[in-house]
């Protein structure tokens, strides 16, 4: 899966002097929507490029990315998809560890 969209967005953000938060799937266990290396880049205005797995846990990771942009700390986020969170029968039933970091030129 080519990631050039994410790298392009990162590059052009840096050209403008803007920081970004990058979320990368570090590890997966069981059945997860995306595999290791999948990426989502989040800009300061909350817009993002790329996906780490659609609805399954993405909102949570997006929030962590926004927090990382704020405080600058890198963090590992564990998203557990084995429990139905809102009564919906989600098809993904695994655990993902996602590395979230703030990057700036």
């Amino acid at each position: 899966m080519p990631q050039d969209e994410v790298y392009e967005a990162m590059s052009s953000a840096f050209d403008q002097g803007a920081p970004v938060a990058l979320a990368t799937v570090a590890q997966t266990l069981g059945s997860t929507p995306r595999k290791t290396g999948a990426k989502m880049l989040v800009r300061e205005d909350g817009t993002f490029v790329g996906t780490i797995g659609g609805g399954c846990g993405e909102a949570e990771v997006w929030q962590e990315a926004m927090d990382a942009l704020e405080d600058g700390d890198a963090r590992m986020v564990t998203v557990d998809l084995t429990e139905p969170v809102d009564g919906e029968d989600k098809i993904c039933g695994g655990i993902m560890r996602i590395f979230v970091e703030k990057l700036e030129a």
Binding site: P2, Y7, S11, K35, A74
Partner: protein, 278 residues
């Protein structure tokens, strides 16, 4: 020391044009180990950009990254701070100190070169495009090599097979599928591409036909090691009948070559475990 902007630009170049690079990021460490979370080093075949703290760890990660490139690897690995690779969950849990490194090979999309724009070529190209490959299709018949015929993004080339293939750039990231209208053309095409270091060369045909083609090329002096690497008859044995099913079988084989795997139903693993536990 490379700054993040330099690294980002280098990653973009790697993803767009190549050459491939193994991007190595420090993602975590056990308490007490001094590392810079998020430190990133790009390992090329012949040099590095950036650093992850030097010492034996950096040397080990460099070595690992270099070997990851031809395998298209994307994997989080555990090392000791002294640079020893720790494999397996139990060993990782038992280790005193671990540094987690994400190693991901960044490279341009693979090229799928389809020789022959017939029914099978059409389906193979479609599935390749769906998998994110850059698809090129060559045929010498205008009815088969025209943009209208392919409802997906493809570089459609109409021309003499020999000339067009000679001109076509082939790298280890090129996957070649020979599915032309007849074994004569397939033979000509195979002669042209066999020795050019493609990541995969597969040729359609019955066992008898394909053996004849290989024999001809062996007699012409193409090395047996080269011919041994040709996947022919093409595809995984899944009982494919229709062009679309054959495409699944062929792309299945290409994924197998690219990623490695057992090419067995996943459930077989479960059954094996069950029989061991019994």
């Amino acid at each position: 020391m490379a700054n993040p902007a330099e690294i980002a630009r280098a990653l973009l170049v790697a993803a767009r044009e190549g050459p491939a690079v193994a991007s190595c990021t420090v993602m975590g460490a056990t308490d007490g180990v001094e590392v810079a979370l998020g430190a990133k080093m790009l390992v090329y075949e012949d040099r590095n950009l950036g650093e992850i703290g030097g010492g034996p760890l950096e040397a080990a990660v460099t070595d690992f990254g270099r070997r990851a490139i031809p395998k298209h690897l994307v994997q989080t690995c555990a090392f000791t701070p002294d640079g020893e690779l720790v494999e397996g969950r139990r060993a990782i849990e038992a280790a005193d100190a671990i540094v987690e490194i994400l190693v991901e090979v960044v490279e341009p999309a693979a090229t799928l070169l389809v020789v022959g724009g017939g029914h099978v070529g059409l389906a193979v190209g479609q599935l390749g495009a769906m998998l994110g490959m850059e698809v090129a299709i060559i045929d010498d018949r205008e009815d088969y090599a025209n943009e209208d015929r392919f409802p997906y993004e493809a570089n459609v080339i109409c021309g003499d097979f020999g000339e067009e293939l000679e001109r076509f750039p082939i790298t280890a990231n090129t996957y070649i599928v020979l599915v032309s209208r007849g074994h004569k053309v397939d033979e000509l095409a195979l002669r042209s591409v066999a020795e050019r270091g493609a990541g995969y060369v597969g040729m359609i045909g019955s066992k008898r036909r394909t053996r004849t083609v290989l024999q001809h090329l062996a007699e012409e002096g193409i090395e047996p090691q080269v011919l041994d690497k040709v996947f022919t008859p093409i595809g995984l044995d899944i009982g494919a009948e229709t062009p679309e099913e054959i495409a699944v079988s062929v792309l299945g084989e290409i994924i197998l070559v690219r990623r490695g795997g057992g090419a067995q139903p996943m459930s077989e693993h479960g059954r094996m475990l069950a029989s061991i536990r019994r």
